[in-house]
């Protein structure tokens, strides 16, 4: 029963915002000691597993290419694509942005868009302008709401697009962890199962964006949403 202390340590450590790497190390040590292992055995087991799981950190070899492309204006290019969607309604525009975000993330371009890269400079202002065109004057609360929708759409597009790319941290973490338990899997075999959820995420969020459009059309009094 005492081996569960390791789980308590990792949950409490993350909750209390200690340095995550120190928390993981502490959790390993506590788990090992609770299981009656001596410290050197724990360290050797952890080291052995770390060495076997090296491929999890292989994902970073894409950074030189991403960095090169960014230095030559990939983000600016993506912003050009987003700006071209100007003129749609808020809901249509954000749904289009979500599709673009999911698609870019699915081919491994997670850092091309994002809150600092695209949402603040581009997506939120375009969404605001579109909402203004739809509803006439926007009061402060609705302006806030539309901006929050822009950021939310970015997160959702990223989360449910990135796992389709086979060399992303979460996919290789799954592969690495299962290998520790003796189950060997291919990254591609894992990433294809991210596709059903990606489609569901687009449908659910797209439906909510469609409803946002309808609410905006009805005028200033009807923008409150329970969610």
């Amino acid at each position: 029963m005492w081996v569960l202390l390791g789980i308590v340590v990792i949950v409490a450590g993350f909750l209390l915002r200690f340095h995550p790497l120190l928390v993981i190390l502490a959790s390993a040590i506590v788990t090992g000691i609770a299981a009656g292992l001596d410290p050197l055995t724990i360290l050797a087991a952890f080291g052995k597993a770390f060495n076997e799981a090296r491929y999890v950190s292989i994902i970073w070899i894409v950074l030189p290419v991403v960095g090169l492309l960014e230095a030559y204006g990939l983000q600016e290019r993506a912003r050009g694509l987003i700006a071209r969607m100007r003129g749609a309604t808020v809901g249509q525009f954000l749904a289009g942005y979500m599709l673009l975000r999911q698609g870019l993330a699915a081919v491994g371009l997670t850092s091309v868009a994002g809150h600092a890269q695209t949402v603040r400079p581009l997506v939120a202002p375009i969404a605001e302008a579109a909402a203004e065109a739809q509803a006439g004057d926007l009061d402060d609360d609705r302006r806030e709401e539309v901006k929050a929708w822009a950021a939310a759409t970015d997160n959702i597009g990223l989360f449910f697009g990135e796992d389709i790319f086979l060399a992303i941290g979460s996919i290789l973490l799954i592969k690495g962890l299962l290998e520790q338990y003796g189950i060997s899997l291919e990254p591609l075999h894992l990433s294809v199962w991210a596709i059903p959820t990606a489609i569901a995420a687009f449908l659910i969020h797209g439906f909510r964006l469609w409803r946002l459009d309808r609410r905006l059309k009805r005028g200033p009094a009807a923008t409150e949403e329970a969610a």
Partner: protein
């Protein structure tokens, strides 16, 4: 035969280059410790198999010490906006073409390399193809964009420094799973969970797993951290071993159930609180409020996807 070790050699060379280039970057106030971190990772990639288990453990302690004591810093910033805008206009969509080389090579290679088992380790085809894609894309990028040969490494190092210690978080969590396994954590949790879930209720077990992933993620602020815990507790002993679920489906969609939790928690500050500040929202939970309406139904969808797809 080309195996994973070739990929480790490439990755080791890259981390070594990051360390060397980082040492020359005086804009980084912690350049010595930052370079030491990447150098240790290079050593792990190159020499991990010769270090021995304890040696790797000591290397790991070194990485954690450098990161945990605040040794990681950042160097020079990105290429100026005006230069990037100008280059972007000239380069056009060839930037996207180069970007697509990597996933295209990885996808084609995954299938093609299996046809040549004498040349490639088929089990690791995807990662070998990924590395090949990176090398091709770097070469094409340098030639087509007329960039200097060290430009990819310099720009890669800039991005790597901004990722910082988080770079080894997934690898550390995967390794923690091994310690959990050694200590028998899964067996203990499995016993407790099987008392809590009605005997023989597959749906009950799937709900416990999906909901557990989301809730643990909300508490910890990180789906990656929740994953080893929930896999040891429910995913492996119950869903995979007892009910014979497909491990790929259980885990891939289980992770996405965790992502639904990420959308609903202020603990995931980078995604939920930072953008609220960036957009000057008065309500710092404004972004989370817009996300809950998508996250909850999507979590339910994920639970049912596991239930339907993983247990034929």
């Amino acid at each position: 035969m080309i195996t994973l070790h070739w990929v480790y050699a490439v990755a080791g060379a890259m981390f070594a280059a990051f360390a060397l280039l980082g040492l020359a970057d005086r804009a980084n106030p912690r350049r010595w410790t930052t370079a030491a971190f990447w150098a240790l990772l290079a050593l792990s990639m190159w020499g991990g198999d010769w270090l021995g288990d304890l040696g790797n453990g000591v290397l790991l302690l070194g990485l954690v010490a450098l990161a945990g004591l605040g040794g990681m810093g950042r160097g020079q910033g990105p290429v100026p906006d005006a230069v990037r805008r100008d280059r972007s206009a000239r380069m056009g969509n060839r930037l996207f073409v180069i970007a697509l080389i990597i996933p295209a090579t990885a996808l084609v290679g995954t299938f093609a390399f299996k046809q040549a088992p004498a040349w490639f380790d088929g089990k690791q085809a995807t990662l070998i193809a990924l590395a090949l894609g990176v090398l091709i894309a770097s070469l094409v990028g340098c030639l087509w964009l007329r960039a200097g040969p060290t430009e990819p490494l310099q720009q890669g190092r800039r991005l790597m420094d901004s990722v910082g210690w988080a770079a080894i978080l997934p690898q550390m969590l995967a390794s923690l799973g091994a310690v959990f396994a050694l200590a028998g954590v899964g067996d203990v949790v499995g016993q407790i969970v099987s008392m809590a879930i009605p005997q023989g209720s597959l749906l009950g077990a799937v709900i416990a797993y999906g909901l557990g992933m989301a809730l643990f993620t909300m508490v910890m602020g990180n789906a990656f951290a929740a994953f080893p815990v929930m896999t040891a507790a429910i995913g492996l002993p119950l869903l995979i071993r007892t009910y014979g679920g497909d491990p790929a489906i259980v885990c891939a969609i289980g992770m996405l159930a965790g992502f639904c939790g990420t959308l609903m928690t202020p603990m995931a500050a980078n995604f939920n609180l930072v953008p609220a500040a960036l957009l000057d929202l008065k309500d710092k939970h404004g972004v989370i409020k817009r996300q809950v309406g998508t996250a909850v139904p999507l979590l339910i969808v994920n639970i049912f996807l596991i239930y339907w797809l993983a247990f034929p």
